[in-house]
Amino acid sequence: MRRLRLLRRQRTLLNCAPISQNRSADRSMRAAVARADDSDEFLNQQNFDRAVAEIVRLIPIPPETAEWFSEKNLAVGSKWTWRKMARNPAVLAISVAVVVIAGVSVFQLLTRLNDFPGSAIARKLLTVAASTQPVMLDPVSTEAGTLSDLFFMKHGLEHYDIPEEFADFRTIGCRVFEDEESRRIAQIWLAEKRLQLFLFPAERNAKTGAVLGFPGWRYVRQEGWVGAVTERNGVCFMAALRGNEKDLEPYLSEATGK
């Protein structure tokens, strides 16, 4: 039964056997042709088909029709090119969007690289520093380091200590105020290059309440002002002035030298 089906399948294939020897054929066709190669019936069929195909090849091509044959590009389909693709409005729009998104992402990444716990408050305080006038502060002429006792005694602010690198500078005035989130901020104005010092509570973990500290000094920038921030005992200290990091570096390196 299987053999009969196989023979029928081969017979079916042989009726479609390629006319030219060089015409590509799949494996089953090659097998069917190889089996039938010696049969007279198949030989007659092949001779018949070749003779008909030869007549077809003799079909003359009218001259006006032959003119089309030089226009090869028509028949091979539209070719894909980078230039053509780049001119596609959809591709153009997507490319611009991707560039903008990438630019914003890089900008945000660079901004975040300089972030540290308390950097957001520090930036806000730089804005405060830029808008503060000396008359807004209580006039106090003393060494900055001595104000820690004042903040503790008068305002109950613990650990609002001035780092020793800034402790010896003379003050012009100081004040304690609350920001919009009721954090108590101490602000000191120094005679030295119109430096301003800020002391404010360090950021804490919302769940555990633990202080989110960070080592050393970190810089923040805002509208032409620069601040150097450090954290000690749950209190952040910031020295701020109009300028850039280079203007603050001598004070910090002096401190390191000490």
């Binding site: 390629p18 066709m29 007549i55 089309w68 389909g77 539209s78």
Partner: protein
């Protein structure tokens, strides 16, 4: 797509075999290529294989719909004879094309595509939208019917 698949002289021959008339074949050929040129200008050329032949086939069938249709007769079939090649040699291309174009479709398409000797059988199945068993039957019947017609037209000793 290889050039062989969109061989334009073969496309014209295909139209000629389908219609059996040079002027009609030229008209379909030119219409097919004009339409293709328009689509190429708009960058909308199809990606499917043999689309020119596929397009031309339907145009040929449309064009021949308006012609007088042959009566549906059961044609005689003879076994392919050993001397068939010499009988075929006496035909001219137009006679062969008229005979093929008189066949009902899809046998007409199958015979035209097969004797172009341009496509393998899988490609013909794709283009003519046929199954292997159908293509095989149409070709076998086509040979038998053409042999019977040749025997009637150019009888050899012992075949008339």
């Amino acid at each position: 797509m290889p050039d062989r698949k969109q061989n334009l002289p073969q496309l014209y021959r295909f139209c000629f075999l389908m219609l059996g008339d040079s002027s009609k074949a030229q008209e379909v050929f030119h219409t097919t290529l004009r339409e293709a040129a328009n689509r190429a200008a708009q960058g909308e050329l199809p990606k499917e294989r043999f689309w020119l032949f596929h397009d031309a086939r339907w145009r040929c069938l449309e064009a021949s719909e308006t012609d007088l249709q042959p009566e549906a007769l059961k044609l005689d079939e003879h076994d392919v004879a050993p001397h068939a090649a010499s009988q075929i040699d006496q035909l001219d291309p137009t006679q062969l094309a008229v005979w093929i174009s008189g066949a009902p479709d899809p046998q007409r398409t199958a015979l035209a595509l097969f004797y172009l000797d341009e496509f393998d059988y899988n490609e013909i199945l794709d283009l003519a939208e046929l199954k292997l068993s159908e293509l095989s039957r149409y070709l076998r019947q086509g040979r038998g019917q053409l042999q019977a017609w040749l025997d009637a037209k150019h009888p050899q000793q012992g075949t008339a």
